[in-house]
Symmetry: C2
Subunit: 153 residues, 2 copies
């Protein structure tokens, strides 16, 4: 699909990976890194997803978020169907270079396929033992997923 | 180690998992969920790590972050060696319940084993093609990892 060589360096020593300027992402056994997308303004975590080498390359080149769907086994441009594109304001990589954090401007009413701004709309009570019941927080739907995703798959 | 039964429900239908109050985390083939820890005050992403069922249970019961180290294959209480404990202010779970977001009060000078506040101290320039060179951001060390982790492993 793309003839552009991946802009990744070979992984060197731990010192080089952690303290250097070489971009040497560590893809897992499935060829993926974890990606956290936060709202560039509010800091809210919008979603957690995965990128393979091509998704990472396309995100860097285009400045818009691309992911790899583990369930569908396909490359996926965020907003391709819904129009809810994520413009990347800043990308960071972590110490051992196996996780990426993108601060994004979320286009449209939300990031979550359930029709909400963020995928994290339920809280797990902490400091308790025994049965856990989730609590909805910021769980209001900001769009109708049936209408947004209809006839576009 | 723990006789407490896990406080997890069986996974039901997609509708139940996404719209219900039952806590039914989806552990991957390695028995893990992804966890993002952000600073409860600044919103900054401090780290991305993993939790197995026991780490998740212990985090919920204690209100302090426990993780599972993929490289060491061990349960790990954050701050056990360094004292840099993470007190969980709020835990959220995402739509399909395979990722957890914890907002934490980070004790001590930082979360990263390299001696920094956050693991995400380097930026990847976006909107570019060709070679990528990382740029340090907020990369000042806030503690000396050699002294913090010395003689404690």
């Amino acid at each position: 699909m793309s003839d552009t060589p991946y802009p990744f360096s070979k992984r060197g020593s731990t010192e080089e990976v952690e303290e250097g300027r070489a971009f040497a992402p560590k893809f897992d056994a499935d060829g993926l890194v974890t990606c956290v997308a936060t709202d560039a303004r509010s800091g809210e975590v919008l979603m957690v997803a995965h990128m393979n080498a091509e998704a990472l390359q396309k995100t860097i080149a285009s400045g818009e978020a691309w992911y790899f769907s583990r369930s569908r086994r396909t490359l996926w441009r965020k907003g391709e169907t819904s129009g809810h594109v994520q413009r990347v304001v800043e990308m960071r990589i972590d110490c051992d270079q196996d996780a990426v954090w993108i601060r994004v401007e979320q286009q449209g009413p939300g990031a979550c396929h359930t029709g909400r701004r963020s995928c994290f709309y339920r809280a797990v009570p902490v400091g308790t033992t025994g049965a856990v019941t989730l609590e909805f927080r910021d769980g209001e739907k900001t769009f109708d997923p049936k209408s947004v995703y209809r006839d576009k798959s």
